[in-house]
């Protein structure tokens, strides 16, 4: 990967002094991310360009057994990313800190600069660099017959101190790329604050930058934001608006309605079929009336997450005894699910191909056969009221279908009739006069003669 930096400050060759790298020599440095080469394609009075070329060993990039080929053949050696900024921070450290023995004054003076990065994920380039005084010239790179790629050949121009320019690049290149080649730990906050000193706190997208730089690790992001607020004497809430609890979301409303319906049905022993990360389980555990809560999911990974989020290892014995977490699948008959009062399938059926629904029906309504079954699913009629959802697109990429109210009713009525249940339909969320509520709920109740 490559980055060049050009100045037209006179004499332009002072760039060599600022960087502590001689313009007439090509130098190589071994850094933790590869061999960094520094050389000057042009160095004269009018214009001086330094090039930083990082050679990454693609074979050594990945070690150990990988799960997919994407680990082996990828864009990491070519795209400006954290590998490059680690080299940048190492090779140009003194300049980045704003020090220069031979050109001390110049180091603190804004000079005309042009930075070219030939392959850079460009979606956020203007948004992040413009507020810092850069002008971006973006030439998208084509993806053979597949249209444009997410990369562009980008040239940034502006008049800044070299130190600021390098700090901007150091922070923002990984932010643009959205990933890091190493594990982001506590010390990453310090690195960010050091490189962001003087500009990050005032950046309109400070929070976005912080979040992406710290790889969305919440505790780190919060720590960074509050420290930034300290420095800049602003209230953290002002910076932290995205982290505050949003208005009562649809997911919360759905949980509330489900819990209310379970209570109304008098259920005490409850199945959460497709419990995922355990959001509903948490709500159920908060209600002492539910004496046994059995969460199953087909994904072992989801169950690990649920166990961690619910703090299963730290639960008291009584609370722990109420909860069972188990891997199961709704397309296989699982006798362990029999004998419960109620089962909840919250936003589950739409993750199954329609041809597999009879298997689910059998598992839930024949094998498990609780007195009450709650099924929620999106109402596709409502989708056009979601501003951010492109027309014709489902709400989740794994949804195999989304039903209209009539379609859901047809399925639910069929199941009820075949399996001896009665069914009621309820809206969940703010209802639109024409399109109904965003979520639809069916409440199945086993016939009394059973």
């Amino acid at each position: 990967m490559l980055l060049t930096l050009t100045t037209t400050h006179r004499p332009a060759t002072d760039l060599g002094h600022l960087l502590h790298k001689h313009p007439e020599r090509a130098q190589s440095f071994s850094t933790s991310s590869g061999t960094a080469h520094v050389f000057y394609p042009r160095a004269d009075e009018e214009e001086c360009t330094v090039a930083l070329l990082l050679e990454v060993d693609p074979v050594a990039l990945v070690r150990g057994p990988g799960s997919t080929l994407t680990q082996y053949v990828n864009d990491r050696p070519y795209v400006a990313n954290s590998l490059l900024t680690v080299a940048l921070g190492s090779v140009f450290r003194t300049a980045m800190n704003g020090r220069s023995e031979s050109r001390e004054e110049l180091a603190g003076t804004p000079i005309p600069l042009a930075v070219r990065i030939p392959v850079l994920p460009h979606r956020l380039v203007e948004r992040l660099f413009t507020p810092l005084g850069w002008t971006a010239d973006i030439t998208p790179i084509a993806l053979d017959e597949h249209g444009d790629s997410r990369y562009a050949d980008v040239t940034l121009t502006g008049t800044l101190t070299l130190s600021d320019a390098l700090k901007h690049l150091y922070v923002l290149l990984p932010v643009l790329d959205g990933s890091k080649h190493y594990y982001v730990a506590e010390d990453e906050v310090d690195k960010l604050l050091r490189a962001g000193e003087g500009w990050l706190g005032g950046h309109p997208d400070c929070e976005l930058i912080t979040t992406r730089y710290l790889m969305r690790r919440r505790p780190l992001v919060q720590s960074a934001l509050s420290r930034l607020a300290d420095v800049d004497e602003v209230e953290p809430e002002e910076l932290d608006n995205a982290l505050a609890e949003p208005r009562v979301s649809l997911a919360v409303q759905r949980r509330e309605v489900v819990v209310a319906q379970l209570k109304e049905a008098g259920a005490r022993r409850v199945l959460d079929l497709g419990c995922g990360g355990g959001a509903l389980l948490r709500a159920l555990l908060a209600e002492p009336g539910f004496t046994e809560i059995h969460g199953v999911d087909v994904s072992a990974q989801a169950l690990h997450v649920a166990a961690r989020k619910l703090g299963v290892d730290r639960m008291g014995d009584r609370q722990r005894a109420r909860l069972t977490l188990r891997q199961s699948s709704l397309t296989y008959a699982d006798p362990e699910l029999a004998g419960y009062d109620a089962a909840v399938l919250m936003e589950v059926v739409e993750h199954l191909d329609p041809v597999r629904l009879p298997a689910l029906e059998h598992s839930v309504f024949v094998v498990a056969r609780p007195r009450t079954v709650l099924v929620t699913t999106p109402n596709v009629e409502y989708n056009e009221l979601f501003e951010t959802l492109p027309a014709g697109q489902f709400r989740h990429s794994d949804h195999r279908f989304e039903w209209t109210r009539a379609e859901f009713r047809t399925w639910a009525d069929g199941v009820a009739q075949r399996r001896g249940y009665a069914v009621r339909h309820l809206p969940v969320g703010p209802a639109d006069a024409d399109r109904g509520a965003p979520t639809q709920l069916a409440v199945f109740t086993l016939g009394d003669d059973d």
Binding site: L2, T4, Y40, P41, P58, P77, D144, Q327
Partner: protein
């Protein structure tokens, strides 16, 4: 003195301390059969006489006894057992496992017990203990039978003890020594005329008495009839049926198990209070017209019927209402009740009839179970079980199954003899699909394969496959096979390539395989196509569908039409075919992968390296020495371009099915047969009869691995193929399934082209310093995986071809997917 005990039972020894129980147990049973309370006290407390440990010791003893009984092993409990409560616990344990409890009492005189204890230094308790034991024992003796012990043997003197011989007896239900063949006949319900007709159809000679009444039927040589119960009630001639069947049973021409109607008839004939309904009234009226002697004989016969039989070495079980495996060959009231009435759920259906638990859906046993009890319009196999009650008395038919031929023979009812409460043919006949159970696939599993023995699947492998199978795979009813992974050839030692055909040829030659076939790799996606006459599926090597609904139907319709035109239905006498194929072009399936993975890497690489070459050239022109770096960068740019060319070669525009091609290379299975015993030329020849735009051929070359000239030809063929941009080739033993000196040989070895491998190992893999490192790749895990998956795949095919229950096929298919979660270098 002979002590008869059932050959599977729980023997409870009863006797005071010092009465000689342990000695007796040692003499008559295996050491592992005997569970002694002393021993278990030692296990939990380090002291065999620590009475305070008795509670824990018996807990463990009962646990071990339970495990043994569950496994069907006769077990002897060596403890005093003089207290009723202790015995009750053991009787309960025996019943819980449907095993008969037997008591053997050693009622030795007090002085003998005391003398024995005195000789043992560890038994220093006083004489009052023995006295107390004996008192409790004497009080118990006459109640033992009432407590539930099936047999009670009391040995009163030392000579009785010395002379005792244990004689195991077969259980009444144990007819394992009867190996058939049998003609198993469904519920007759007094339909004598139809029964006579069926017996004649089965080749039996009816024997009639002076009045012309059938009193016996002589089977064809070697065969025997077997009735699954409900001979009586509802129909026009219950006495006639009984006369015939009783004669057959008494003359050794038939077996019969008891049905619920026989059970009830006996009670009615004995004047017990029973509700006279469900056709009992007809039987009683008909029997009333018979002489008393006949009624008594009928009552004795029905009363003597056994509730279920285990036949043919355990391979066949007959029970009127069916029987789950855990009850086979067991004896208890619960087993009898299930065999007669089945397992009702407690619910009733819209006709007020009890809803029966569908035990057969869950049946996973090895034995074939034949039963009746629930009238159905037509017989069908459900998990190796078949209900033979086709409702003759309701106007259906009377059905027999020839065993082991599995041939169905039926005769139609002469009329509707009895109006059914529930219509025999439901208005909307709806059967639960073959239901797969979670326990069919999860946990540690071991699958017996015909070609590579037992193959294990670890629980964590099953767990990850469960998610993939549940969320992404097609319906298991159409997922009969997943192809095995394929190992690449041993790594070449040539300086410029990683894989070369000469290593593949050498490997097969060394394994003793002389003739191999080279088949071109199409650089498509592996596809398995199931064509049925009215449905089918086309799926990937992980069981995902290739196309969405309508497109899949259209694709299958085209394949089906070609199969029909080629006459393959008749040629293989089948209504389904399973094809192993590649589906082209690559982007038909992998468009997302290309757009998100391969193309961006190409674009980024070419962009970055072009810019780098450019600035380096300008730097060189200024006289700065960057020659080495420039040379390296230029070389990498050319690698990047090569990478881009490589993946672009495998992409072609498609629109719906336009441009999509199928290259079938193996016929996997059809009804009743598999084809891995046919050589690959046969396969390619058969498949070449499939004509139509959708098909494309697989180029191939046969190579004699022992002939240098032919080997050189094979190498040249590969060079031409890959030189023109081809992916590479697969080398297979020409004969197909091949065993070498060390078991199965690899069914195929892939040899991929030098340029193709750029998209696998990265654009720069051909740089010498990279090749040196990549050459250290380890193939062992991949090769072992390939063979295990191959054997599992063959097993799935053979089971599917034999029309085995879905779960039997699915466990193999699932296991292939589970093994795929093993962490193996994905570049291989």
């Amino acid at each position: 003195m002979e002590l008869k005990i059932p050959d599977l039972c729980l023997v409870v020894l009863v006797g005071a301390s010092g009465s000689g129980k342990s000695t007796f147990a040692r003499k008559h049973f295996l050491p592992t059969q005997v569970l002694s309370s002393d021993y278990f006290r030692g296990l939990v407390a380090d002291d065999e006489n620590d009475q305070s440990a008795s509670g824990a010791a018996f807990d463990v003893l009962h646990y071990v006894a339970g495990k043994r009984l569950h496994a069907g092993r006769t077990t002897v409990v060596d403890a005093t057992n003089v207290q009723r409560a202790d015995r009750a616990h053991l009787v309960g344990l025996a019943r819980a496992h449907n095993v008969l409890p037997v008591a053997i009492v050693l009622d030795a005189p007090e002085e003998v017990c005391l003398a024995r204890n005195a000789s043992r230094p560890d038994r220093d308790f006083g004489p009052h203990v023995v006295r107390r034991h004996r008192a409790a024992l004497r009080k118990s003796l006459k109640f033992l039978a009432k407590e539930g012990f099936k047999r009670v043997h009391v040995l009163r003197t030392q000579s009785e003890v010395d002379d005792a011989v244990i004689v195991p007896e077969r259980l009444l239900n144990d007819l394992r020594h009867e190996s058939g063949p049998f003609d198993v006949i469904g519920d007759v319900h007094g339909c004598r005329a139809e029964l006579e007709e069926l017996l004649v159809a089965l080749g039996y000679d009816l024997v009639r008495d002076d009045e012309g009444r059938a009193v016996d039927a002589v089977p064809p040589v070697g065969r025997r009839a077997a009735f699954v119960g409900d001979l009586v009630d509802r129909g026009p001639d219950t006495p006639g049926v009984l006369r015939l069947v009783m004669g057959m049973v008494e003359n050794g021409h038939a077996f019969a198990v008891c049905g619920n109607h026989e059970q009830k008839l006996v009670r009615a004939l004995r004047g017990r209070g029973v509700q006279v309904k469900h056709g009992l009234a007809e039987s009683l009226a008909q029997l009333a017209a018979e002489p008393e002697e006949f009624r008594a004989r009928a009552e004795r016969f029905c009363d003597g019927l056994v509730a279920h039989y285990v036949l043919d070495g355990g391979a066949l079980v007959l029970a009127h209402a069916g029987l789950p495996e855990r009850f086979h060959g067991r004896a208890s009231a619960r087993v009898r009740s299930f065999a007669l009435y089945g397992d009702t759920t407690g619910e009733t259906d819209e006709y007020g009839l009890p809803v029966r638990y569908p035990w057969a859906n869950e049946y996973r046993g090895k034995a074939t179970v034949l039963y009746g009890h629930t009238p159905i319009p037509d017989v069908e196999w459900v998990n190796n079980t078949m209900c033979l009650d086709t409702g003759v008395v309701f106007g259906g038919k009377l059905t027999a199954l020839r065993y082991p031929e599995r041939e169905v023979v039926s005769v139609a009812a002469h009329e509707i003899w009895y109006e059914p409460v529930r219509p025999l043919v439901e208005a909307t006949p709806e059967r639960e699909p073959d239901v797969l159970a979670l326990s069919d696939v999860t946990g540690r599993r071991v699958i017996d394969t015909a070609h590579r023995g037992r193959i294990a699947v670890r629980p964590e492998q099953a767990a990850s496959a469960l998610e993939v199978m549940s969320r992404f795979a097609i319906d298991p009813h159409a997922l009969l096979y997943l192809p095995p992974t394929m190992a690449p050839t041993a790594t070449s030692q040539r300086p410029d390539v990683l894989e070369h055909p000469e290593d593949a040829f050498a490997e097969y030659r060394d394994a003793g395989v002389r003739e191999v076939i080279c088949e071109e790799k199409h650089m498509g996606s592996r596809a398995v196509v199931l064509v049925r006459e009215d449905s089918g599926a086309v799926h990937t090597r992980t069981g995902r569908p290739f196309f969405d609904g309508a497109l899949a139907d259209e694709f299958l319709a085209r394949v089906r039409a070609s199969v029909t035109d080629a006459g393959l239905w008749d040629r293989f006498d089948t209504d389904w075919l399973l094809l192993d194929a590649e589906l082209l072009p690559w982007n038909a399936k992998a468009a997302g992968l290309i757009k998100d993975q391969y193309a961006p890497v190409g674009a980024a690489a070419v962009g970055a390296l072009t810019a780098a070459s450019d600035v380096l050239a300008r730097t060189r022109d200024r006289g700065v020495d960057v020659a080495d770096l420039l040379a390296r960068t230029t070389s990498r740019l050319s690698n990047a371009t090569g990478y881009r060319d490589a993946y672009q070669k495998y992409c072609r525009p498609t629109d719906g099915l336009t441009g999509v091609r199928l290259a079938p290379f193996q016929l996997l299975a059809a009804r009743g047969r598999t084809f891995h015993d046919r050589d690959h030329l046969w396969h390619l020849d058969v498949l070449s009869t499939l004509r139509g735009e959708v098909f494309t051929r697989t180029r191939h070359l046969v190579v004699d691995t022992t002939d240098e000239v032919r080997v050189a030809e094979g190498v040249r063929w590969w060079e031409e193929l890959t030189g023109a941009g081809g992916e590479g080739m697969v080398v297979k033993p020409l004969a197909n399934l091949t065993r070498g000196r060390r078991g199965l040989v690899q069914p195929g070895i892939k040899v991929r082209g030098r340029e193709y491998l750029r998209i696998v190992y990265g654009p720069d893999y051909t740089e010498p310093e990279n090749l040196v490192r990549l050459r250290r790749r380890a193939l062992g895990a991949k090769r072992s995986l390939a063979l295990r998956e191959y054997a599992l795949g063959l097993e799935a095919l053979e089971r599917a071809a034999r029309d085995e229950p879905l779960w039997r096929v699915h466990e193999c298919v699932f296991a292939v997917l589970a093994l795929e979660s093993e962490p193996v270098d994905p570049r291989l």
